[in-house]
């Protein structure tokens, strides 16, 4: 009985905070747009009894999903989000790996401080941090002023409102999610493995590729998923830093909801996005499980 109560807590949590909202969104995606409050029909009216319920279900259809296939804006937005997420994840890995490596190689008494520095940005609002990048990247921003005063460039670079700014924003925001799992993998590694590799004839560089890199593989995979999954649906960064030509599904979703007030289509976009994300989430879970098994 006590065990049941214990298991019930996370399940009720999941039911209330994930499944119920999902079912509501799913229901809206099957409805039709209407000039009403809320802006869709049908709505469930339990006072009508059994007949009302039958009527309610007969009015649900897949029209919105069919609509998504007729306008190529949507699949282009999905594809573009995917592309941006892949490139941004790769860039985050390129920046994050050396940082994680440096942290793991640092003397023991330095590590808590370095860890703190990685986590510290989380303590300020994400929105404020993204806004501050506008100040850095804009044409009159700090970066351009610095480069101009150093004489490296003669006219300001246009970075803000381009995909470059979006990449910078994503790499900056999600860097800790990449660093921490890689650092965890590297930190666990036994230092004598590298000495053994050297002893058996490896140079420092080959020892890295043959020992360190494969042993941090699980951390890399975990980090990539942790960056990739939220990046695909990212809305704030492309809308603040990106230009009108930055096409991401999160932005499309927002516009459908707030500009077009077309809740049913927006919900259909969200449901498809969720279904698409289930694939990498399952892959991520399997990677975590495999790692646990290998260690157990």
């Amino acid at each position: 009985m006590r065990r049941l109560a214990l298991i019930a807590v996370p399940y009720i949590w999941l039911l209330a905070l994930f499944l119920v909202p999902f079912l509501i969104v799913l229901k809206i995606s099957l409805s039709d747009i209407a000039m009403a409050i809320p802006p869709y029909t049908p709505t469930l009216d339990l006072t009508e009894g059994w007949e009302g319920l039958k009527d309610f279900f007969s009015n649900l259809d897949f029209d919105n999903y069919i609509f998504l296939t007729t306008d190529d804006l949507y699949w282009k937005a999905y594809l573009s989000s995917f592309k941006i997420a892949v490139i941004a994840t790769f860039l985050t890995l390129l920046v994050g790996y050396p940082i994680a490596y440096g942290m793991a190689a640092a003397p023991d008494h330095w590590r808590p401080t370095l860890m703190m520095l990685v986590i510290l940005p989380f303590w300020t609002s994400f929105l404020i941090r993204v806004y501050s990048w506008i100040g850095i990247l804009s044409n009159e921003g700090y970066l351009n002023q610095l480069l101009l005063s150093l004489g490296i460039i003669s006219s300001p670079l246009t970075i803000l409102n381009t995909n470059v700014a979006v990449y910078i924003g994503i790499v900056y925001t999600y860097l800790p999610f990449m660093i921490l799992p890689i650092y965890a993998a590297l930190e666990r590694m036994d230092g004598s493995l590298l000495e053994a590799a050297e002893d058996l004839g490896c140079s420092r560089i080959t020892a890295f590729w043959l020992v360190t890199f494969p042993l941090s593989k699980n951390g890399i995979i975990a980090g990539c998923f942790l960056v990739f999954i939220p990046t695909i649906g990212e809305f704030v960064i492309p809308s603040l830093l990106g230009g009108s030509r930055t096409l991401m599904i999160g932005k499309v979703l927002w516009e459908e909801f707030f500009n077009n007030r077309d809740w049913p289509v927006a919900s259909a976009v969200a449901v498809i996005l969720l279904l698409l994300l289930i694939i990498p989430i399952i892959l991520f879970q399997r990677n975590e499980q495999k790692q646990r098994e290998a260690e157990g």
């Binding site: 590799a197 004839g201 080959t206």
Partner: protein, 373 residues
Amino acid sequence: MSQTVFEPWNDPQAKPLIQFKNVTKRFGDFTAIDNQTFDIYEREFFALLGPSGCGKTTMMRMLAGFEKVTEGKILLAGQDMAPIPPNKRAVNMMFQSYALFPHLSVWENIAFGLKRDKKPKDEITDRVAQMLKLTRLEKFAQRKPHQISGGQRQRVALARSLAKAPKLLLLDEPLGALDAKLRQDTQFELVDIQEKTGTTFVIVTHDQEEAMTVATRVAVMDDGKIMQADTPANIYERPNSVYVADFIGDVTIIEGRATKTGDGYDIAFAEGQPTLHAESSKTFQNGQSCHLAIRPEKVAITADKPDTRNALKGTILDIAYLGNLSTYHVRLETGQIVKAQTANTRRLSRRNFTWEDTVWLSWTDTAAVLLEG
């Protein structure tokens, strides 16, 4: 059939494989190795024995190339090793933690060093097969290190370090992670493999029994210095210092003053006690202070006064029963404790002596070792 004794260190013609020449190693202000000069010969099984922090691991890491020599030189086959990095040395090391690559199979672990040498494929296959056979690991070739037992891992580590046929193999506490029973079996296996391959082994250990079992010569280290490097028998029977006598095995040390008599010395150690006699080739001044080291198993314990020059009376303070042996701690009237050991050839119920019994301890003139004070 005569067997030649393997004692290259006594042969002035023999050329040493490893030469330490006035080697000093400092870490900041701390001197880990203090001006050491000694030789290791080919095919030797050389043990560095000492308590933790005595510098034995530093000695080994200098041979592997992981630590730089501060002063002096280490020569391998006459060549100065200082400029050669660890990955270019004909020296391989078996790590205390084994350091097996967890993402590679047993086979790939053993082949790792051979692949780095860019050896042809079939040569690698042959060599790995040979190593697997030597260490009886054929069945486990495709397993990952976490899928085999501790003893098997130890053999993989050995096979991997031997695969490149190094001139010198370094073993850092190779049996430290094994349980007592497995350790004993593995000790003999190690000697067997060393003889089969003809490789020179240098082993670091803090376990004296292990060092005595496997080594041709044992170097007892303390505080960055080799106190004595000799065969296990000589280390035990003819220690050159109180430190070595005390470090190896069980011993009673009696402090006294020597007076030359006949072939040896009479040692007066306490008022009211008879003088003891020990033969010694060392020279002592009359009245010079000295230490007499005597092993418990060389001390006989009797109820009546025996007819020997070395006989002391005392009462039994403690009995350590070890199953096959019993060690008696006997207190003399002066308060000095002398240990005596007897084999338990009879059942326990028929033991002759018990606590508080007054007994006589005796030993022969050649049993004890006289050491400088």
